[in-house]
């Protein structure tokens, strides 16, 4: 069925290409760079078109000459070879002309580059940290910070053989749970770094792409001209789920943004203030994770999918839910059998921490430790479930944790 749909689509290809085609959910562009919504992105777009047309013109001249002679100077048409094979003058000319053209290209490009480089006098500073495989946003000086991961619906649909038609998922792969919210008309400076491997934060509509390097901070800036929702992706290979850590920016008019920010603060975004982002990346030498072989696809369950519940769940319920959470979030490092990948990723089977006070695991999940990222974005239920699950699996001694415990630990 899927296959047939596929071929039908191929059939409709031409009309797709020239008509509206599938919804241009992501950048809004189909053939070309999007124009974007910042001064810089306009400049970049113009530069792009400028170079493009230069290439087209040169191409017409060069290929024109070549194909003319291909058609006209054939032996079968009786062409006789000329004998010239050198001309210093001609060669000087066709060395000099490209050189001049290049200077003409380099000057505006350099000017734009210089402008892009100036991150001074920003109105807002936002620190962006890449994790395998999510983003953390911190509004510096505002005490607001949170994680942003692939939206649950996309996450479910993207699993191997998920059986979900991705065309039915809104904004498939370019949607997140918590978008980055920014004001329009303000100079915003991004401080970009990473907690594990290199990622790159890219929003085409802003013409901003910068690598997130563990242990270093790169700076870029933008100033958004109009409100809207803008999407981007992680643009540096960062492991298994590189294709699944999108970026969504919601640009709001300034007053709405202020209101939003105030609301976040009042919510006391417990979520992240505690996250030890500044925690040093561990020496890469010991960063021997693995391209986790295990079966994420089995667990289509996204964190949010776990049913909300009031206090007190049965052990079975918790363990069942916990297994799912584990498979989605923990298995990459701690492996299916809880064996981990020593030396970096400790086994959970028989672990001292797991068999110690139950609060320790909750704390570790909430706040992370060294190479282990924090998971504050998981709900209390999920954390309770996964904690119970690791407590009672693989021969561990089996304490049960309830959402209330987690809520208490969050305080």
């Amino acid at each position: 069925m899927q296959k047939m749909l596929g071929w039908a689509r191929v059939g409709a290809l031409v009309s797709c290409l020239f008509g509206s085609g599938s919804a241009l959910a992501y950048t809004g562009a189909k053939w070309n760079l999007p124009e974007g919504v910042t001064e810089m992105s306009h400049e970049v777009h113009h530069l792009h078109m400028f170079v493009f047309w230069i290439c087209v013109v040169i191409g017409i001249v060069v290929f024109g000459a070549m194909f003319y002679s291909v058609f006209a100077h054939r032996k079968s048409k009786g062409a006789v070879a000329a004998s010239f094979h050198e001309s210093t003058l001609v060669e000087i000319i066709w060395t000099a002309i490209p050189f001049v053209i290049l200077i003409g290209m380099a000057i505006p490009a350099a000017a734009t580059l210089v402008k892009m480089d100036d991150t001074h006098n920003a109105d807002i500073n936002i620190k962006i940290t890449g994790y395998q495989w999510k983003w953390q946003y911190e509004y510096l000086g505002e005490d607001v910070s949170y994680f942003s991961t692939l939206a649950a619906e996309s996450n479910r649909a993207r699993q191997l053989n998920s059986g979900i038609d991705v065309y039915t998922v809104p904004n498939y792969l370019v949607d997140v749970d918590h978008p980055l919210v920014l004001p329009v008309g303000k100079k915003i400076r991004f401080l970009i770094t990473s907690n594990d491997v290199i990622h790159a934060w890219w929003v085409p509509a802003f013409a901003v792409k910068k690598d997130a390097i563990p242990g270093y901070i790169n700076e870029v800036w933008t100033k958004i001209d109009e409100p809207g929702t803008f999407r981007g992706v992680c643009a540096e290979l960062c492991g298994r789920d590189h294709g699944f850590m999108p970026i969504v920016v919601k640009a709001l008019p300034e007053d709405e943004f202020k209101a939003w920010l105030a609301e976040q603060k009042s919510k006391g975004t417990e979520v992240a203030s505690a996250a030890p982002v500044a925690a040093a990346p561990v020496p890469a030498a010991v960063a021997v994770a693995a391209a986790a072989p295990a079966a994420t696809e089995v667990a289509a369950a996204a964190p949010a999918a776990a049913a909300p519940a009031a206090a007190g769940k049965s052990k079975d319920e918790l363990l069942a839910a916990g297994e799912k959470v584990y498979k989605t979030n923990c298995i990459a490092c701690h492996q299916a059998g809880g064996t981990g990948m020593p030396p970096t990723f400790p086994p959970l089977a028989g672990s001292k921490v797991v068999n110690g006070p139950k609060d320790a695991v909750i704390q570790q999940v909430l706040h992370g430790k060294n190479m282990m990222p924090p998971f504050p974005q998981l709900s209390n239920d999920d954390i309770a479930a996964v904690t119970s699950y690791v407590h009672s699996s693989w021969g561990n001694k089996g304490e049960i944790v309830q959402a209330g415990d987690v809520a208490a630990a969050r305080k």
Partner: protein, 300 residues
């Protein structure tokens, strides 16, 4: 490995106009590859889970050495048998020169890393240039000093090897060995074989002494100074550069010893001794690299 002067054999050809030299098929190259791969697989077992003891890689390495020995011996015999003309001699010289160039570039990668750490990454981590935010947010308090084991002080406090102790002695040793080697070369050219052999062995002795001191220095660094490969970027570059160089000295000393033995067996002629020259070039190259090391790793 070079053309006999007035070669009395009927194999000799007038240079350039005669026939080309074409060697017979040989299985040594293939076997060498196999031996190397044995080393690699054994080394892999060691690195990944320590499942393999040190024996298999050593066996592989010994096999490789044996094969190289036989291969080179064949070449020497061809040379002594007078099969080579000037062209072959030039070929070997050029080959050696290109090979040494490739070695230079190999070292360049590590020197480049050292340069980058000192001129780029350490200053950035301590807030210079465009990386103020890096410093303020991630590594507050870290200062641009050298030597350093980085903002997290990996490997703990350590001290560095003083340039003017053993390293300086080693510099003198290597420089002297360059002179003794050239003395030997001159002696060979003037056909004073005994003198030549004497100076060759002196050179070998100097090389060995260098290695001995280097080993002493490493032990001292490990046990007394707490300077190891874990000591951040200083330890990394220090051991990578000096270790890689020490490896080259080891090979060079071995090759010098073999040349000395060949001299004792009556190989080489005053005016054609490519094998000798090739090894001498190699030794001088190792020498020059050491000067670079001494300046950039120990002194500066």
């Amino acid at each position: 490995m070079a053309t006999p002067a007035a070669a009395p054999t009927d194999h000799s050809h007038a240079p350039a106009t005669g026939k080309y030299f074409v060697p017979a098929p040989s299985a040594w190259p293939f076997m060498l590859t196999a031996a190397l791969v044995t080393c690699i697989i054994a080394g892999w077992g060691y690195l990944e889970d320590h499942s393999v003891g040190p024996i298999p890689p050593i066996v592989g390495a010994l096999a490789a050495f044996y094969i190289i020995f036989r291969w080179v011996r064949g070449v020497c015999l061809e040379s002594e048998g007078g099969l080579y003309n000037d062209q072959v001699g030039r070929t070997y010289r050029m080959g050696m020169a290109w090979f040494i160039f490739s070695e230079v570039m190999f070292f360049a990668a590590f020197f480049g890393a050292l340069w980058y750490a000192r001129e780029m990454s350490i200053p950035w981590l301590s807030g210079e240039g465009t990386k103020l935010a890096t410093h303020m947010n991630l590594w507050p308090g870290f200062e641009n000093t050298w030597p350093t084991n980085g903002p997290k002080a990996l490997g703990g406090k350590f001290e560095t090897v003083s340039a003017w102790g053993l390293p300086f002695v080693n510099t003198v040793l290597l420089l002297t060995s360059g002179v003794t080697l050239e003395t030997a070369h001159h002696a060979l050219k003037e056909n004073h074989r005994k003198v030549c052999i004497f100076w060759m062995w002196v050179t070998v002795a100097l090389g060995s002494l260098f290695l001995y001191f280097q080993a002493t220095e490493y032990l001292h660094a490990f046990h007394t100074l707490n300077l190891t490969m874990h000591s951040g970027v200083y330890g990394s570059t220090f051991f990578m550069l000096t270790g890689f160089h020490g490896f080259h000295v080891t090979l060079g000393t071995l090759m010098l010893a073999i040349i000395a033995i060949r001299l004792m067996l009556g190989h080489f002629k005053p005016d054609s001794h490519f094998g000798f020259e090739g090894v001498a070039w190699y030794w001088h190259f190792v020498d020059v690299v050491w000067i670079g090391l001494f300046i950039f790793v120990y002194v500066a």
